[in-house]
């Protein structure tokens, strides 16, 4: 029964999410869908960065791969959009495993640089192969979906992937991930196979980003284009993870809400203004989070809980 409070939390969140479309306007549903999309990406990146201790500044690249998978499959084969998400998951899982290989030799800032290169180079591929991938004219999916569809898809996928993440992290694999994070040498000494678990963490988080990217493109009216996946997107994800902190549903929700809603909020608040509003808020948020709550929203919650008990 130890998990009961956690279960109550999850069910409460799920209940609110089910009720939201009946309460919100169509426009606010589209914003809530945006939050769901980033929830998936941040959830995945949290497995890599938070649990396994491997940094990535390049997860926007996996979103690009997932997004283009959906757009191209829909354009050329009229594939069912839900199916394209599954395909995006699989493709990104494999690419993630491959990208995870350098992580075996590199660590810390060097690994960060490799993933950064990924974030810059992947969006160049459509420009190079513009016949197939549309160049900077982009790829338009054959079917577009409305806000409610994306909302339902995003949060259903979130729920499934949340349960999957929970299943992965609670058992052997999760323990191995945490061991790698805390001390690689100690992990190896205890029989954790470093290559397997490092690449696996990359693969899983990339697959999550792929699904997020697929939904991201559907939310952009089914239009995939290189500049949607600029370096800033990868940084946003990383900031989202920093805000989320480790291992808390509320934390990930907070991170996703921050990243998903900020563009709209920053243009609506007159003080911030249209120009550079986003950059200013992001910069300030990063500094504040690092100064005040280095463990993110999850750390803040834990601290509050301790205070309440004392």
């Amino acid at each position: 029964m130890r998990n009961l409070p956690g279960l109550v939390t999850v069910l409460a969140v799920a209940g609110v999410l089910c009720a939201l479309p009946f309460l919100l306007s169509d426009y606010h549903v589209s914003l809530a869908a945006q939050v769901g999309i980033f929830f998936i990406a941040i959830l995945g990146l949290n497995i890599l960065t938070g649990y396994t201790g491997q940094i990535s500044i390049g997860h926007g690249a996996f979103m690009a791969i997932g997004g283009y998978t959906t757009a191209v499959l829909s354009r050329d084969h009229h594939t069912n959009l839900v199916l394209t998400m599954v395909v995006a998951f699989a493709i990104c899982f494999v690419v993630g495993l491959i990208v995870g290989l350098p992580a075996l030799r590199l660590s810390g800032v060097y690994l960060a640089l490799v993933t950064f290169a990924l974030a810059i180079s992947i969006p160049q591929i459509p420009l190079q192969y513009s016949k197939f991938l549309g160049g900077s004219g982009g790829v338009q999916s054959s079917r577009t979906v409305d806000n409610l569809w994306i909302y339902a898809a995003a949060w259903t996928a979130s729920a499934i992937l949340f349960v999957l993440a929970w299943l992965i992290l609670r058992g052997r694999i999760g323990r191995a991930f945490r061991a790698v994070r805390d001390s690689e040498i100690a992990a190896v000494a205890s029989g954790v196979e470093l290559p397997v678990y490092k690449t696996l963490a990359f693969g899983i988080s990339a697959a999550y980003a792929g699904v997020a990217g697929s939904l991201f493109v559907l939310a952009t009216n089914g239009f995939a284009q290189p500049s949607e996946f600029d370096v800033f997107l990868s940084l946003e994800l990383l900031i989202g993870v920093a805000i989320a902190g480790l291992g808390s549903l509320w934390g990930i929700l907070a991170g996703a809400a921050f990243v998903g809603l900020l563009p709209q909020i920053s243009t609506s608040v007159p003080v911030i203004g249209a120009e550079h509003g986003r950059d200013v808020v992001f910069g300030a948020a990063v500094i504040l989070v690092m100064l005040l709550v280095p463990d993110g929203f999850a750390g803040l919650l834990a601290r509050l809980r301790r205070l309440a008990r004392a």
Binding site: L23, T220, A274
Partner: protein, 422 residues
């Protein structure tokens, strides 16, 4: 039990917030969205930041024009309120921004939004909802053609451009080359996207049976650094071209112009597309070592430097000085984008006037398809902004211009006005 009660509190709190948000969102307007007896609310997305930020004077000039119109009482007593959002030239930001304008702010129309990819990412959505997407600041052929013909599976009757189509402009360059340098060996530098390819195909069509005179085509990507663009120009010279045609966006065209003098013994006839021929950009190219004399381009707006005495240019100066003084200096240096913004905003208020007091979205589209502006003060004297049901490019006229006076020089128009370019 304490634990559960706290959870219950959190849940109730969440529901309360939800209900509050829903309450705010509930109100829905009556009649034509964005139009009241006092105001017309319009919206647009522009690159205030990002790779195309050089264009950011356009929306500022448009808002200056609306402020001027509002100060004179507005259109049928309605003040024009233009809400612009920065999309960094990034479709992933354009879409939520446009959704916000349409679904949250309930704008009457999307007016003047800049960029081909941002436009493509939202035209399906806007046409589905029958929201006018008009006077787009991009010259791709789509914006005129897909009104009647099916493009990407459907027609787009709620979408319209404003400036001359890129293929039409390129056909004029072909005409110029065939007349002035019939034996030209042509090298083309173009941007590797729909924009650059639109131009290139127009040039080939215009050259017709002479298309074989193109000895080299080089494409660059919009994110390439200046050195890469320079290398492409070098390749064009190495192919023996004596005519250089540049179909590029400003940053790349500046790099290309600055490379030419570095190639020994090469002195090609250089043709530069209109979008990059802003005098401000030319002065920057000169600072980077370009020798500009003899460069050929086209124009359809009046010039705030060489035609400063036109009534329209005096008006432009007065409006900018009063409502957007930050742009005073760039206007004095000949920033054509400011005049562009004023001219296209003028067309919008003209259409509003013709759409009448009882303003509807369909009425606006009808007015925009029957434009006949001989009196738009900001376009080149003698040109007309004109549309019909079948011809939906508002501007189809151009005049050839040539640069003289070196690093402190300017564009000078030559020859007649060419019409019917599309």
């Amino acid at each position: 039990m304490a634990f559960n009660r706290r959870k219950l509190g959190a849940l109730l709190g969440a529901l309360l917030v939800t209900a509050a948000v829903a309450g705010v969102a509930g109100a829905s307007p009556q009649g034509t969205p964005g139009v009241s007896s006092k105001q017309i609310l319009i919206g647009g997305t522009f690159p205030y930041t990002g790779p195309a930020a050089l264009y950011k004077t356009i929306p500022v000039a448009e808002q200056a024009w609306y402020a001027y119109v509002n100060a004179k009482g507005g259109v049928f007593g309605r003040k024009i309120n233009d809400k612009t959002i920065d999309d960094s030239y990034n479709p992933a930001q354009t879409v939520p921004a446009v959704k916000q304008l349409v679904e949250q702010d309930h704008v009457f129309a999307i007016v003047g939004s800049l960029g081909t990819a941002p436009g493509l990412s939202t035209w399906g959505y806007l046409n589905q909802r029958k929201v006018p997407q008009v006077l787009l600041a991009t010259g791709d052929a789509y914006w005129g053609n897909c009104v009647h013909h099916s493009c990407q599976g459907s027609t787009k009757p709620w979408t319209m451009g404003w400036q001359p189509s890129y293929p039409g402009e390129a056909k004029l360059y072909a005409k110029y080359i065939l007349k002035n340098k019939p034996k030209a060996k042509i090298g083309v530098l173009y941007q590797n996207d729909a924009y650059g390819k639109n131009y290139l195909s127009g040039l080939k069509t215009g050259l017709g049976s002479h298309a074989g005179q193109i000895v080299d085509t080089e494409s660059y990507n919009v994110t390439d650094p200046a050195t890469v663009v320079g290398a492409h120009v070098g390749a064009i010279a190495a192919h023996g071209a004596d005519t250089l045609v540049i179909f590029a966006t400003p940053a790349a065209s500046i790099a290309a112009l600055a490379t030419v003098p570095h190639i020994p013994g090469w002195n090609p006839l250089t043709i530069l597309n209109n979008v990059s021929a802003n005098r401000l950009f030319m002065l920057t190219a000169a600072k980077n070592g370009a020798t500009l004399n003899g460069v050929v381009s086209t124009v359809y707006t009046a010039s705030s430097t060489t035609q400063a005495n036109l009534p329209g240019m005096k008006l432009a100066k007065a409006i900018i000085h009063k409502y957007a003084p930050a742009l005073d200096q760039s206007l004095a240096l000949g920033d054509g984008n400011i005049i562009y913004g004023l001219a296209s905003a003028w067309t919008f208020t003209d259409a509003l006037n013709h759409a009448g007091k009882n303003l509807t979205r369909a009425g606006l589209m009808h007015a925009l398809r029957s434009l006949n502006e001989k009196n738009n003060p900001f376009i080149y004297p003698g040109m007309t902004v004109q549309t019909s049901k079948k011809r939906t490019f508002p501007m189809e006229q151009l005049k050839i211009i040539k640069w003289s006076g070196g690093a402190t020089g300017d564009w000078h128009a030559t020859g007649k006005i060419f019409s019917g370019l599309h």
